[in-house]
Symmetry: C5
Subunit: 87 residues, 5 copies
């Protein structure tokens, strides 16, 4: 998993059916000091995250293990909202 900041969202009306119903958020990876690295990605929101929030992001087949998501084309998802980073 990695730490990111929610910086926006994507509007895409013509998309794969299995994405319907998910908010597609633009996330900016950040390190434990809050510094940005790499470019933005797009993650499906599993926990109701808002713009500006610090989130925990999961990738790959792991974000499709739950029954209701086994058949979705999601490969990146917001799986937690971070209260605190203790370093």
């Amino acid at each position: 998993m990695f730490i990111a900041k929610v910086v926006g969202n994507v509007v895409a009306t013509r998309k794969n059916d299995t994405l319907v119903g998910y908010k597609l958020m633009i996330i900016q990876p950040i390190n434990a000091n809050g510094e940005e690295y790499k470019n933005e990605s797009v993650a499906a929101d599993y926990v109701g995250a808002g713009i500006g929030e610090l989130v925990l992001v999961g990738a790959g087949s792991s974000v499709r293990v739950e029954n209701q998501r086994k058949d979705s084309v999601i490969d990146l998802a917001i799986i937690g909202i971070i209260d605190e980073l203790i370093v």
Copy 2:
């Protein structure tokens, strides 16, 4: 998932059978400001994207979860056409 621009397509007559029927598009990853990063990749088109369009791209086993694609060697696919990036 990530954001990309469709910049061309690949012609490959001798290819794995499971790729037959798919348009193989050359995509250029871009960030939320429209700037290019990384090199181009090749994605199977699931939604009828055209050259120049801004698209949402999925990767890995997630792009093979739908029944009609479970046995295809596709590892990257265009899964949405982006109307708008709200940042």
Copy 3:
């Protein structure tokens, strides 16, 4: 797998149910000479690692193969505590 140092942990009360019960540790990848590279990631702790310890980290679907973890959204995990690097 890769080598990392445990540098902190993440507090996230609103998170995917399948993460409940796991310590979410912030890990800093290091090479065999102990030098840092890449940015921190977040790994579920499978072996009781402490802050400052040198650990072995596994990624992807491999960290969900054990029965009790098949349905968890974990994609990165601490799977060993390193006693020694012999180079």
Copy 4:
């Protein structure tokens, strides 16, 4: 998938049984302008590619979906021979 050029091959007599019978080709990733990026990798050849040819390469579990390959340790494969890149 990505675009690459076949630049050589690997000889490895002591190898995992499931690799027996496959030509293991050294491939150099290139972008749509023919420029090299990243380092070489090794891909199993699924389509009879020759040295110097421009090829389409697939990665991860996608290159093991076909029945005859489900139990092979292959994680990278040449899945097409490129006739033309239209950009």
Copy 5:
């Protein structure tokens, strides 16, 4: 797959049960000219490789396809010992 050199090994007594019995080797990725790139990783040894040997390394779920390894947390493995690189 990629080419690497075995440069050492990891001693980890407290580790996930499914790693028991495997030699955990430190590997340095190299390109076809023998030049080092990226940092070291740790791979389970499937073929009896020794320190200094040139090896073929597989990654991801592909290194868990064989029955005896389906339930192991291994995500990187030495799957061949290279006799020769023909470029």
